[in-house]
Point group: C2
Chain length 400, copies 2
């Protein structure tokens, strides 16, 4: 008999490709020196958190009582923090949320987990739009849900509402969307989202069900070229938002985010109450306290999006010039690049030969592409480009 | 069709008694004023974190690079933090752990969750010793395990090894122990633990299984009268420890702790690797980064245990003098008090009449008792005692 459960045995054998890369990057760095490894694998922001965050942490420690700062609060989070977040959303999106619509969580990933735990019965189906963040499959599997993959339009990488409609069954409980998208960098358009809502509403009527759209928004603040990221609940009333400050404020290690359950969600009060219980019993209990308090003072802050934009242009133009086919990213910090021979495993190996680490997108349900995270230093991209040139040569690409 | 899953519906209807008390305390405080409510319901430390913790936070922010401090690290936690924790354990307990035995987690509750996720197949049985922290039932249920309750000795509140042995079946995967105990305050003796190990080892041989003891140790540092809290893995080789700094350093809101998988656990490497994956996919991803780093500089620190000890003596002696029957606590910060008429719901109501909030222990699988958390101000206990006197009178108790 094995010590490890059946479910976890499978995962032990197919561990996260992204995380394996992260460990591989550290291994290579130890051998060749950090400066000779071009690790584009993980979405770990290189841009530092705004100084205002550290200042807010110091201020909270100085001004507030230690028992308040480090103590338990309601499992949903400090009411005053939730109120500050609600106010900030209301200002930005013309909404009317209150603290009762919000649950502070250990990041967006945990927010999605407690929401899935709240709504899924075993065997329920959750639609995801490929390409998608590979962890969704695990999150859905945690609650014995079934992941149903619907491909995005292969030209625009926008979701295909008709295809989503065709995938809906009476067991469909939710649809996960992620815009700006990881890994494609595409921002879903208002038009697409409206059409998606139309199709979902029609299917809800047909089956007498509610299909909850879960909008995973860690990259909301990272959009370029003036592209507007639509506010999902305004377009899809049956939607919840899971949000994280990991990328918006460069705090991925701190695990801070929230779940928003708008009043337009059927039984919103019960959903929120159950999510608060799930927040507690899944073991996190509450979002980290000091960071909650500090964060509530930094809601107007942004990380240096310009830095990502410079990286984006350098890398996108650099790779295009070398003859690679890339999706032009409008948001997030990923470049989605076609494998020259259509095999992402080959492309991965071709890159690794020069200590360049990229993520093969078979794990994002989009074989034939790799993901290149450009949340790295501008300098590293500059130094990596000559090696990408060698990769292009090895792959027989022609400069444009 | 309900929005909330079947499993969560049940929990919505039977929400945590302890947490309900916490919210009730806040409600009463809003009506009567905080100073007129005697809230003994939640284990939320009143003793502040050692100033060294806040200093360490400031130092880390000043000395270290922001991207390192707030960024992703290995899902198991910063290797240097795990090394510091291992060294500290080795010094205290004469062990030889390394960073590979440790996974930093969002508190002990999350550590227990990822361990249960790692080892439980649906229908597997987990033995718990009553009285026990009511959340264990939820944690086990999260992975479709079955909670098997074995009563402690009703005189000493020590586990009864023979009774545990009788409860073991071929489906028994784990035993959860908690010493110093919540809610009884009892510290399990070395003798009891050795006997427990003998019985478990015998049952493992009989059934050809491994029964993992999970030692939940948030209260390890809170022991009084010079009582030594035995180090479980030295007595029970097939055991893991889940630990939290919530009580040891008064940081319950920060959600910081760890899982220890000693090499004496069969397939220890696989168990650890699977737990690291569970740490990631359950949504927390990693323990909060800044607090990890700050904590690793405070491993020699302790909160003011003397303050709890003063509270303990005041409350224990005070209630004894009023004629109540209490278990004398050797650890943690709970007093376990017998309901005068044997009905904890009655006792709860009798206390609430005077705005005293205590937790009826039916929810801890020990009806007829209430739990009084004395991690409150000395002053509040002093002010509450005259009202406890009225409760005693109402209950017809005679002063000793």
């Amino acid at each position: 008999m094995s010590m490890v459960s059946g479910k976890m045995q499978v995962l032990l054998q197919n561990n996260s490709v992204v995380r394996a890369m992260f460990e591989e990057g550290n291994r290579l760095a130890a051998i060749y020196g950090r400066e000779n490894v071009y690790d584009f694998s993980l979405g770990n922001p290189n841009v530092p958190a705004p100084e205002a965050v550290n200042q807010a942490i110091r201020d909270v420690l100085r001004e507030k009582d230690s028992v308040y700062v480090h103590g338990y609060m309601s499992n949903a989070g400090y009411p005053e923090v939730r109120r500050a977040v609600a106010d900030s959303l209301n200002q930005r999106f013309g909404t009317a949320y209150t603290e009762n619509n919000l649950v502070m969580t250990v990041g967006a990933a945990y927010a999605m987990n407690i929401l899935l735990k709240t709504i899924l019965n075993p065997g329920d189906e959750v639609i995801v739009i490929a390409p998608f963040f590979s962890e969704y499959r695990n999150y859905i599997g945690n609650y014995d849900g079934k992941t149903v993959v619907v491909k995005a339009d292969p030209e625009t990488f926008q979701p295909d509402p008709e295809a989503v409609g065709r995938a809906v069954t009476p067991r469909t409980r939710a649809l996960i969307i992620n815009t700006p998208n990881n890994p494609s960098g595409v921002v879903y358009s208002e038009e697409t989202l409206k059409e998606l809502n139309r199709v979902l509403t029609q299917k809800e009527k047909e089956f007498g069900t509610v299909i909850l759209t879960i909008s995973d928004e860690p990259y909301r603040e990272l959009a370029y070229d003036g592209v507007r990221v639509p506010w999902i609940p305004s377009l899809i009333p049956h939607s919840c938002v899971v949000y994280s400050y990991s990328k918006a404020l460069s705090l991925p290690g701190e695990r801070i985010g929230w779940l928003l359950v708008p009043d337009t969600v059927p039984e919103a009060e019960d959903v929120t109450a159950a999510a608060v219980i799930a927040n507690r019993i899944s073991g996190a209990v509450n979002a980290p306290s000091l960071i909650q308090l500090a964060l509530s003072r930094c809601l107007g802050e942004k990380c240096d999006v310009e830095a990502y934009d410079r990286n984006r242009k350098l890398l996108y133009n650099g790779l295009k010039d070398l003859g690679f086919t890339c999706v032009k990213p409008q948001g997030a910090f990923y470049l989605f690049v076609k494998a020259p021979d259509g095999d992402d495993a080959h492309f991965f190996e071709a890159c690794k030969k020069y200590n360049i680490l990229v993520v093969p997108c078979t794990s994002f349900a989009w074989p034939g592409y790799v993901r290149i995270a450009y949340c790295v230093s501008y300098d590293m991209i500059q130094r990596a480009l000559p090696f990408f040139a060698k990769v292009a040569e090895d792959c027989g690409l022609k400069k444009s």
